[in-house]
Symmetry: C2
Subunit: 560 residues, 2 copies
Amino acid sequence: MRYSKLFGKTSKTAPGDAVAASHKLLWQGGFIRRFTSGRWGFTPLGMRVWLKIYKVIQDEMDKIGCQQLVVPVLHPLEVWKKTNRDEAFGEEMMVVDDHYGNTFVMGATAEGMMVELVKMFSPSYRDLPLEIYQFSSKFRDDKRPRGGLLRVREFMMKDAYSFCATEKQITKSYRKFYNSYFKIAKKLELPVIPVEADSGAIGGSLSHEFLVEGDFGDQTYFVCDKCGYSANIEKCEFQRETLNPGEKVKPFKIIDQPEWVCTMEDNLKHYKEPLWRYLKNVVYKDKKGKIYIASVRGDQDVNEIKLKRALGIDYLEPAADKDLKKIGTRPGYVHSWGVKGVNYIGDLGLAMVKNYIGGQKEDKTDSFNVNYSRDFKYELLADIVDAKGGDKCLNCKGKLKQRKGIEWGHVFKIDCFYTRPQEGYFVDKDGEKKPLWMGSYGIGIERSMAVIVEVHHDGKGIIWPQSVAPYQYHLIGLDLHDQKVKSRAERVYQNLLNKGVEVLFDDREEISAGEKFADADLIGIPCRLVVSKKTKGKIEIKKRKQKKIQLTSFNQLLFA
Amino acid sequence: MRYSKLFGKTSKTAPGDAVAASHKLLWQGGFIRRFTSGRWGFTPLGMRVWLKIYKVIQDEMDKIGCQQLVVPVLHPLEVWKKTNRDEAFGEEMMVVDDHYGNTFVMGATAEGMMVELVKMFSPSYRDLPLEIYQFSSKFRDDKRPRGGLLRVREFMMKDAYSFCATEKQITKSYRKFYNSYFKIAKKLELPVIPVEADSGAIGGSLSHEFLVEGDFGDQTYFVCDKCGYSANIEKCEFQRETLNPGEKVKPFKIIDQPEWVCTMEDNLKHYKEPLWRYLKNVVYKDKKGKIYIASVRGDQDVNEIKLKRALGIDYLEPAADKDLKKIGTRPGYVHSWGVKGVNYIGDLGLAMVKNYIGGQKEDKTDSFNVNYSRDFKYELLADIVDAKGGDKCLNCKGKLKQRKGIEWGHVFKIDCFYTRPQEGYFVDKDGEKKPLWMGSYGIGIERSMAVIVEVHHDGKGIIWPQSVAPYQYHLIGLDLHDQKVKSRAERVYQNLLNKGVEVLFDDREEISAGEKFADADLIGIPCRLVVSKKTKGKIEIKKRKQKKIQLTSFNQLLFA
């Protein structure tokens, strides 16, 4: 391809809101352009990378015997309703009505549709395990699209699904996809870390996120420095430790407290005791308006996803002031016990501290020397708070290290979460109808592209891995006003094309050498070639990753 | 691929509503399944054909230097509004709101978006012609989805666009795509006929549909038996002939007429004069409620699309009784002249008959010996009616033959229809900003697949063209309970795989030879191979198109 004819050129500046390296570089390299928030177009250069990522994923799926197919982008809402997925996805889900009275969910994931498809062919145990995948446009109405392609509202996803006869079979299939994700990541040159994750709106019993570590990520996760246990913040379990073991349990009392002491910060200022000494209450409500008070230590942060999991519900939102009013209280005055008509739940850590301050805040008083079990007790204590760096691993005595990363892929062991309500059955050996065991496995192309750039770039631009580079060679012609040099450069270009080599030929005459080199570095094709007056009959060759420049002949080049 | 492991099997029966051969065969062959009206899923077998059609189109686009890219599926409504395309597409267009106050059109075509993309890179005349394409999911809320994949509501379209500096350049580019469509059709083994067509909601000055003739089609078109002029019914011009040249113009009068004479049929019954003798009025209204009376001869049918073109408006609908009431009339009583506050328009044929009956129907009277020009006259006479088989060609003295077919592809010369209102400019040699000249070119994958099957099938099933066949060989193993035969069949299968040949291996043990042959014929892979007890060390080979069966060795096979 001649760069002069390529649609979409480099740009010296990036958009003002671009912070992430991939956002800046993909934009400046002329790979992508934004249409509206979270919705991007790909130029021909960007599209070549896009198609190569597609192919890397497709090849690996085909290799493990996964069969490509496709279902409609618009899913009948009823399919989602069968598993309450419409509620679980909530505002992330886009819904559209047609002109004929039908309501559709715009494909955000396709477990439900795949169950419907598989049902149409009435599988028997002989057909299992069945492993299928599709590439199709996905729509997720993300609250905060950001970082160019890092977080978007519309993207192309490879979503694979397995259907099995037994839990043993699904576990094996899950493991197969899990392993294949390492292979795909390796081809894309992405250093991935699988971490245990919450299954979220997808549902199911087990899931792993494949994360790529880096500050560009918005996902917090933990790795045990001893046993290697790793999980993201929504899932990470940890050992609660006794914080004041030497202290004696003291008698409960009501003490005077200045009216201004409301928040944890106020407590700190007033009592000068560490944060874990205070009781904290966070109030939520579900879709029906039912109120939940999550009671934790002052040093703990409620994790909404852990909380939902512990309560076994799909939807929660922070309660508003008017919700508090309904239950007879207001912000800062929520009691750790005794509020009528609400559900209390506490974190496991509540029992690890003696003699709490707080829990029964009134205008001028609060409770003191409060002890869990003795003074208040919940039906449910569960893991409902964020782990923190330095917490103890639940499996061993190791310490959890906190890291940041981004989800690149996600695999889910879903079991019969969809197939039971959707009646996705197979006929087993014994002639009985049984629900299929299911797994689901996703990778987005746009996210992949962004993460590859985050991992593979330097101050000058992108450094594409061979497997997804838009072209293998970036041929720069210099001194092209000189007819002899020009025809030499043209010959090299044609020869490369004839050999079936992917080459981008910077044939622009009016552009300086410096600009051409800068563009080449920015665009990030693995190997740069230069034909100029200086190179005479030879070709200058330089790998994007290296500094070394060599002179070579055309024949040598193809074996370089 | 082992047929035993392939997801999606053949079926002995087709759905009750399946009429079209492609609908029946693709369904029975196990290529497709329906989710909701006009929305289909593809099984792995169907997907292979789908992907091959994609590749045939992609290869040809790449070959002509068209650059692949992609824009979002959701288009900001504002982009469509700039050219009133939302009004022109009307109910075919699906609209969706996100949770953040934005309204989007679900991509039905992408001219507007492509203009926006091109603008982002501020093209100069040096960048032109610019030819780009994408594959992306398209959504059209078709009133009557039918015939399986023949007419759907959701599909994958290759849509290409050219941007040019001059009308001469766009004409050349249009021609290039026009020619490329023949090449694609040839590879898909589709006998296509380009016919002049209305540009419809896409807009522009010239368009051609590439039709495939057949009764499965829903498009009526005409071909001149002499000069070869061809156009579809929405576009086909024809010569209006004088129908009663020998007759003298008679004096206008009002005559008594029984009250029951209202429709053209009533007129026929009462007067026993041919249909062309009566005046017919058809009433429409636009989006704003403005009324248009289309006045034609009794033997003519108003073509709504021709009418819109003649009026230069994007939207019309038949007027309802209440609309007629507003203009002081009712069905059957619309006058050919004199109604206040409406726009009259007549067909060119109005002037070709003397002494009409009708035009001023009252309860017990009507007008008689009515002559256009003398008794009534419109500001506009235009081509607003359907051509009919047997009509005279406008270009020559030939006769128009009426045919049926289906649109497979469509090319549009759009000129500056989008770029002017969207300010899609380029900088010309003279430094001036000028609107880009544009063309647009579409082919749908699903429609292609359906039409290929319509053209290539027999009583037993599909006969896939080599270029899009899901596999090249359909290897049938018979007598597989015999270990020797089984291992021979397995060897042939493995050898073919090792040679990189696409082969579907019917390895099912419990299925009879007859069923396997029937399945092979239904699925339609070009070449059938059989390994059985009878074939001994050889392989039986039969082309799907031919009856001849031969015995061959494995080595000979690959050169067959």
